[in-house]
Symmetry: C3
Subunit: 254 residues, 3 copies
């Protein structure tokens, strides 16, 4: 049998040892686990960015992967920690809506409450280490999810931003995130964008392109990104930088 | 038996291949090793930050973990490389005091001198690759520490910053580091802080709080961080940014 | 037999899940693979920086390592993807010259064309996930390179910058990259630099030094870096910062 894969998605960054310490805890309790970093670069406490990242990345991980999602503005307060299960994967995450945008929606949830699964003493500020990591190690070691706590329904849900009709017939969709290359990922699905002309702050970006090489280096364009949403880009450049674009901005469709 | 865990702690950053090359050397000589990143984000040549990071992270790694610590302003000069052993872990590190702050102090040291354990030719600037990595691989493969070199006492020791009494009865403690979230970690242990009021540059931050949600978003607070020291934070914000706080600053206790 | 090592070298950064998703795809198709990060910090689309990084790092990885190099300004256009083989390693990389600078030059190339090895549907913008990762997993699982596509000769070649003679007898060599510590790596090999005096923008940096401790903290120096090229550094500081040095600049030799 293949070793269990534990995939970490956090806003911890890589400047400190937070992600490393989680791995230390997991390996101490489940030495056979394969621990993989999905990403630790979620902007601090940005639950929407984490929800988008999970939607984009989870489908590409092996069946049986346990995702540990620690983007958790409510750490130490009364927010719950959830275990969730989809057809192919399982998840540990705060009950803050971060699991809301996955194409493969969870079919079961539990509230992670069992105090025997926590490090002792547990801190109030680093549940990734004291609560998520030991629970993940227990699950990867074969402990039944029923041990974690009772079946529940999630309390928090993040609404995916809908397209909005504008006077004159255009529609607009939010920019959800920008990436390392300066691409701006919108909430506009491919099906809504195809055949349309794209605008940003009144500037025409032309039709939806097939790939970057269809415009000249340094020119902006719009194309369907690798996660199936419309993205605004600059060929061999940064749309985020050149247009000062960020979440809160939006793209318009003809 | 579980495969040996080798945990890397450096100031190499992740922009270059320095950390990756260390892993290449280790895997070539000890394919069964589990190589884990504690952190590569120590500020360049900041031995104090590395000492603090090691204190915070080492206790959470499995028994038998070999830590390889390469924060080494003296690389290429005459500084020694040490092997050290605590009750649960072992370490390879420059003899520059970086092992001084661990709660579980080393009980044995050796000077790593055996030239047969180095890559040839060895550079004068990348001992992580040419000296630390092959020595780590040898140890993880079962080579006796006695092969490394003679038992020694460490030359360098870092003094942990003591609290300082101020006129009027207050005490102050250094800020040792800031983290990715902008939390400022002080050298004030929990036992000294509890029951006190906290101040920063004359501004009252209130009593020591239990968790972030006890103040409003954007407000500063002081709490006991996950490593047992007083930390200054801003809820859903950055204390380091908002107060321009950095190592060299200090917090005051009533 | 040791598990196959797959070493990733990209310009994806670690802010997003791009590198993590590649690992997910690989582990889903070749669970026994050891996936190691060489580096994801190549400046976006900087093929020269990637070629230099590969030259510096590949020799230190185990025999049999498969490098997956995704620094790919032409993604989605007609550029080919190559498989290449040297005496000790194999490679998947765009046909853009990124393999040109390795000391151990490839002895065989194939064009990666077999559509059955791609994820379906494949995007036009994320070939790391949809094409490189599944091809790497197939190779690591024992699929013959002949399945990938026909033997070819590479189309693109990057010329390594030669030293240039200056009026008055000096020679100059390009700065190829700067690193995390602010060292400026030049294209001047050790053999050409030894015994010379080094200058940068007219400022004398002295002879080639053996190690940093030969100058005072904060002072600039030149030495042979860990990859065998002349580097410009500041002891316990950053040459790149202090001298505003970057690729495009050059060092001069007496």
């Amino acid at each position: 049998m293949n070793p269990p894969v534990i995939a970490l998605l956090t806003d911890f960054g890589l400047r400190d040892s937070y992600a490393g310490v989680m791995k230390g805890v997991i390996l101490g309790r489940c030495p056979q686990a394969r621990v993989v970093d999905v990403c630790h670069g979620i902007p601090p406490q940005d639950v929407r960015a984490a929800a988008l990242c999970l939607r984009q990345s989870a489908p590409f991980f092996p069946e049986g992967t346990l995702f540990v999602v620690v983007v958790d503005p409510g750490v130490g307060s009364v927010r719950r920690v959830l275990w969730a299960k989809t057809r192919r994967h399982s998840f540990l995450a705060p009950d803050n809506g971060v699991l809301s945008w996955m194409a493969d929606a969870p079919v079961a949830y539990r509230s992670v409450e069992n105090p025997s699964l926590r490090l002792k003493p547990a801190s109030r500020t680093f549940h990734g280490r004291d609560l998520f990591a030991p629970a993940a190690a227990a699950l990867a070691s074969g402990v039944s999810p029923a041990i974690l706590g009772p079946a529940v329904a999630p309390r928090a849900h993040l609404k995916f931003p809908a397209l909005k009709k504008l006077p004159g017939g255009r529609r607009r969709g939010d920019i959800l995130a920008t990436d390392h290359f300066g691409n701006a990922v919108t909430a506009i699905p491919a099906a809504a964008a195809r055949g349309r002309k794209i605008f940003f702050r009144g500037r025409a970006l032309g039709p939806v392109r097939g790939h970057y090489a269809q415009v000249r280096a340094g020119e902006p364009l719009a194309l369907i990104g690798s996660s199936g949403f419309l993205e605004l880009s600059v060929r061999e450049g940064s749309f985020a930088h050149d247009f000062n674009a960020a979440p809160g901005d939006y793209a318009e469709l003809s």
